[in-house]
């Protein structure tokens, strides 16, 4: 069948190759997984089951159930974010849909969208599908992969129309403080950039609270915040995310959403209501466990001589392996059966690094880091 140019030219994700290599073996310990190793809290799962038993299988309102949006609004007060449930919140099929809708609602053909890299791999293709062009803004290891005004200026982001911001960051685990965000916010105001802030890892920060660019002066009206239940509540497969933003942006996103998705899946909306009502303690326990693993992993990498900055969020460490990260990751998989993702997969500035997910059990992390240490020793 003849395919559209758009589909034909869309590149295969660099993750794919490592997925295939890792899947080909059955003795692999994988530190390559971008999702929690926990299951969704049991209370949330039972709410989903209960909703099915009661026959709650119809569509919901396009924007999502009102009870869910009210709870999302209340939940976000912890980040000093304040959004109206009726007009400023849209429930989506995973945060991925929210990102896609934001691009489609905010990007005109030919628009330039600044994206800091290394970062999550879906923004570039999403921008392309919306007709925009990506402008890459490399972040630097010496800044612990925080975005700076200097990097934005150096990359020519003043000419951009939109900025995508992903902190806590996948793949680096980097977070940004209010002070650092203030600098980026000032740049956005000065250069009239709007922002899509993917804050899916907001609940997973260690030692400091999540800071959002949307709370910077003058930024709420030019920012769409994306979040969801996948990472914090270990609900990746239930596919439920949401967008928060000024009414006109959410309204535009909802107009696209009502034709392309109609409504986010119903069952996870029930699970999410329960999660927000009752599962804070479980999230805290997951965060505490991630934190212990994070410290262990970072200290082990630094001990074996792979310099690793202290990641403040998400569940990734980003050790420096030097040189060709792809060759390193392939050889590590081949020799020791440990899967990691080469940093260069995540774009400019990722080369010479590895994304190491610590969303795996402590026992596996110890075994995997022992094997990596043996691999490094043998090189």
């Amino acid at each position: 069948m003849r395919l559209s140019d758009r589909a034909r030219t869309l590149p295969e994700s660099g993750i794919r190759k490592f997925f295939e290599l890792a899947e080909a073996r059955d003795d692999v310990i994988s530190l390559g997984v971008g999702e929690p190793d926990f299951s969704a809290p049991w209370a949330a799962r039972t709410a989903a089951i209960d909703s099915l038993e009661r026959g709650k299988t119809s569509y919901t309102a396009n924007r999502g159930m009102a009870a869910l949006r009210e709870r999302i609004a209340a939940h976000h007060e912890r980040y000093d974010q304040s959004y109206e449930p009726e007009s400023e919140i849209l429930a989506t099929t995973g945060a991925s849909e929210a990102v896609d809708l934001a691009f489609r609602a905010l990007v005109d053909p030919g628009d330039t969208v600044a994206v800091h890299e290394p970062t999550y791999i879906s923004y570039g293709p999403g921008i392309e599908l919306a007709g925009g062009e990506q402008l890459t803004v490399p972040t630097r290891a010496e800044d612990d992969f925080a975005l700076t005004r200097e990097s934005l200026e150096a990359a020519g982001a003043a000419e951009a129309d939109l900025l995508v911001l992903c902190y806590p960051n996948n793949p680096t685990g980097a977070t940004m403080t209010d002070e650092q965000l203030a600098e980026v916010a000032a740049f956005c105001r000065d250069e009239d950039l709007r922002v899509v802030a993917d804050e899916i890892y907001a609940a997973l920060t260690y030692g400091t609270d999540h800071a959002s660019i949307a709370t910077q002066p003058g930024m709420r009206e030019r920012t769409v915040v994306v979040n969801g239940f996948s990472k914090a509540y270990a609900m990746t497969g239930l596919r439920l995310g949401y967008a928060l933003g000024p009414a006109e942006a959410i309204d535009a996103m909802n107009r696209i959403h009502q034709y392309t998705m109609l409504s986010a899946p119903t069952t996870p909306q029930y699970a999410a209501i329960e999660a927000l009502d009752r599962c804070d303690e479980e999230v805290t326990e997951m965060v505490e466990e991630y934190n212990r693993r994070r410290r262990l992993v970072v200290s082990r990498f630094n001990e074996m001589g792979l310099d690793t900055f202290e990641p403040g969020g998400a569940f990734y460490a980003f050790p420096e392996c030097g040189g060709d990260d792809e060759a390193f990751a392939e050889a590590l998989l081949e020799d020791q059966g440990v899967a990691v993702v080469p940093g260069s997969v995540f774009g400019a500035g990722g080369e010479g690094h590895l994304r190491v997910s610590y969303a795996t059990s402590m026992r596996e992390l110890k075994e995997a880091t022992d094997r990596i240490a043996a691999f490094v020793e043998g090189r």
Binding site: S13, F18, D37
Partner: protein, 162 residues
């Protein structure tokens, strides 16, 4: 969180963690971890370290029973004294004073059902303060010590994902 609490959280999950790994996980230095453990033991916060065992999977394994015990106290004898006497039996694995219809909940570990019932009828029931016992043999254990007893690895996540 203070150091002792952080160490305790790690030990509660896995009492076999070595000091260096606890240090790495908590961000404390190894000396501080060792000191915290010493203090927790000295203060009787940590009374011991045990494996969580699924006895059903051990040949010639053990049988466990939960025994409800009612007692009658008098001026000279309080719960403490009765508990002290019950706890001295090696077959008593755990002993709790509980609210509700009975006074003590006792977990008894024996070689077999006969062993446990003999222990209750010959050692516990005859105690002057004990007025009634009800023995519940544990037929199957699904979760103990916070650990679910089930088979192996059910991680069905994709091995590499974005």
């Amino acid at each position: 969180m203070d150091a002792e609490r952080e160490v305790l959280d790690v030990l509660a999950r896995n009492a076999r963690e070595d000091i260096d790994d606890i240090a790495a996980q908590t961000g404390l230095d190894a000396d501080a971890v060792a000191a915290a453990i010493d203090a927790l033991e000295a203060d009787n916060v940590v009374h011991g370290y045990q494996a969580v065992i699924d006895w059903d999977r051990v040949d010639e394994g053990k049988i466990r029973a939960v025994v409800e015990i009612n007692v009658e106290l008098d001026r000279e004898t309080g719960y403490e004294q009765v508990a002290d006497r019950i706890a001295k039996f090696p077959a008593v694995d755990a002993l709790h004073l509980v609210s509700g219809d009975y006074d003590f909940a006792v977990e008894v570990l024996g070689e077999n059902m006969q062993d446990v019932s003999e222990f209750i009828s010959e050692q516990v029931a005859p105690m002057p303060e004990v007025t009634q016992t009800v023995t519940h043999y544990i037929m199957e254990t699904y979760k103990d010590g916070g650990i679910r007893f089930e088979d192996g690895d059910d991680d069905d996540r994709l091995s590499v994902s974005p």
